[in-house]
């Protein structure tokens, strides 16, 4: 059993900012993350490796102060004030005194110290006075014919895989879907040696033009966009366009692209299709803990008050979980949550204006990249929608609720627990997922019974 003043779930920008704010108030802080390295998705591969100075500074500030538990997944809450987590026996627990930096500077140092049998898994209960959820977001992935072929990935998905050493040198890649993430993905893939054949953006030209104009009010984002554009020179950016289908027998060979304003489809040969339609907040853990979830636009978000407090006592939420807004909003929300949970409301209040600024930016983003209705009509009757249980569109479209479809077809009953198909069935059929399933992540029976 372990006890923390403040327990943070998620070591991305929001979680690290929350932890740093709490540590500065002298609190005892624990940080749990299910990845092997901290940084979340945007700083994947470790905050100390990032060009973003804020990542390195936050990480540096936590050295020797916070206790860090990587490769650790929260399963459920056995009682108020604590959570049960599962960790592979080989995953290091980095005590505050040891210094996170020394231990996690590379996979090498972990290897030498924590060689052991990966088969062993241990469960542990962590107690807290205050809990800060910073569980981030995942991609919205939509079904289309061929999307289950090896070689078809999420957009951020292929970026994450590339950061983990996925071999892309000389590979032809089509980046598709929607949102500014596509540009960042294409830049990463190009830097890893991939040939980006095209970026396919479903948003129309007028919406993109209005958004580009709005960047003038946000100089840091404008600068970033111009840098990305320069790095992507020569890559066709197909606006008002979307992937209709992926072709190949056992692996991807080509994608069929619908260009807006024309009836003809275009075929592009490629080795990978990285296709994602924006982000969805990870709300499942908050939901499992009893926190109120609210529908906002096309997202389900964790409802919070001005202090980032959820509807549950002593539980806060910061970052993408409260609504997708990017790294700047995540950092300021994390900081507010960390300060508020440490009893420093006056200091937290000084950050409200900054938060409001990035919230406005986030609303613009959501409006610009709203999904076009044609995307709901891509799946054919024999297109798989639930990839865990291989349930097709033809079997699902007759049902009126998520629950009845689950009971009759097993849609959403597999190991991803509806996290992938749930985003699709919401858009395709208007179903809203019901209560979160426990344990929140697939678990060993011994982790629950012990």
């Amino acid at each position: 059993m372990k006890r923390y003043d403040i327990l943070v779930i998620g070591a991305g920008p929001a979680g690290l900012a929350a932890a740093q704010a709490a540590i500065a108030q002298g609190k005892q802080v624990g940080i749990v993350d299910d990845n092997p390295l901290a940084g979340g998705q945007i700083w994947r591969g470790g905050p100390e490796q990032q060009s973003d100075l804020r990542a390195r500074q936050l990480w540096e500030a936590l050295q020797g102060k916070a206790e860090y538990l990587p490769q650790t997944r929260v399963l459920y809450a056995p009682a108020p004030g604590c959570v049960t987590v599962q960790t592979p026996a080989t995953a290091p627990v980095i005590p505050a005194q040891a210094g996170i930096h020394a231990e996690l500077n590379g996979a090498h140092s972990m290897d030498s110290r924590f060689r052991g049998n990966d088969a062993e898994v241990s469960a542990n209960t962590l107690h807290y006075d205050h809990l800060i959820l910073a569980t981030g977001a995942r991609e919205r992935l939509l079904p289309f014919p061929g999307w289950t072929l090896p070689g078809v990935t999420g957009a951020g998905g292929l970026q994450a895989l590339a950061k983990g050493g996925y071999p892309l040198q000389g590979k032809r890649v089509v980046v598709a879907g929607s949102g500014p993430l596509l540009l960042a993905v294409a830049t990463t893939l190009r830097a890893k040696g991939a040939q980006v054949a095209a970026i396919v953006e479903q948003a129309g030209t007028p919406a993109l033009a209005r958004f580009a104009a709005s960047l003038l009010a946000t100089p840091s984002r404008l600068r970033q966009s111009l840098q990305l554009a320069a790095q992507l020179s020569g890559v066709p950016y197909l606006r008002n366009s979307y992937v209709r289908a992926a072709h190949g027998e056992h692996a991807l060979r080509a994608v069929q692209i619908q260009r807006g304003g024309t009836s003809a489809a275009q075929t592009l040969e490629c080795d990978y299709l990285a296709c994602g339609y924006g982000l969805l907040p990870n709300v499942e853990l908050a939901q499992a803990l009893g926190c109120e979830i609210a529908a906002r636009g096309a997202q389900n978000v964790v409802a919070v008050d001005e202090w980032q407090r959820t509807s549950m006592d002593r539980i806060y939420c910061a970052g993408e979980g409260t609504g997708v807004g990017g790294v700047d909003l995540a950092l300021v929300e994390g900081r507010i949550a960390g300060l508020a949970a440490s009893g420093r409301q006056a200091e937290a209040r000084r950050l409200f204006r900054q938060r409001a600024h990035w919230q406005t930016f986030a609303q613009w983003l959501e409006k610009t990249f709203a999904l076009r209705p044609e995307l709901r009509a891509l799946a054919k009757d024999d297109t798989i929608v639930c990839r865990c249980e291989d349930v097709c569109h033809g079997e699902l479209r007759a049902y009126t609720t998520w629950r009845s479809a689950k009971l009759q077809t097993r849609c959403g009953m597999g190991p991803c627990q509806g996290r992938i198909c749930g985003g699709a069935t919401e858009l395709l059929y208007g179903w809203r997922p019901d209560a979160a399933r426990l344990p929140v992540a697939p678990a060993r029976i011994a982790s629950i019974i012990d």
Binding site: N35, R138, E139, L141, G157, H250, C416, R419, I420
Partner: protein
């Protein structure tokens, strides 16, 4: 370099490389067969979709995209004919 086996074949990768990447470096990138028998490979890259489940050191259902390669690791994928 880190050396591991994938379906009993030796593969060497740079430090910090994930098991998902090692599987792609070694071959097709296929990690599992779906309940309907289709070949599948990693999709989300961040531990959500569960498509990259493989057997690591005898333990089934490990996420290849969330596991870093270690020396001596034994990985078995779902298209090896040997289970997973």
């Amino acid at each position: 370099m880190t050396t591991l086996t994938i379906n009993a074949r030796l593969v060497s990768v740079a430090p910090g490389v994930t098991v998902a990447a090692a599987i792609a470096i070694a071959g097709s990138g296929v990690t599992r067969r779906s309940v309907g028998g289709e070949l599948r490979a990693p999709l989300c890259g961040m531990g959500v979709c569960q498509e990259c489940r493989v057997t690591i050191n005898g333990r089934m259902h490990q996420l290849a995209c969330q596991t870093l390669c270690r020396d001596g690791m034994q990985v078995v994928t779902g298209d090896s004919g040997a289970g997973a």
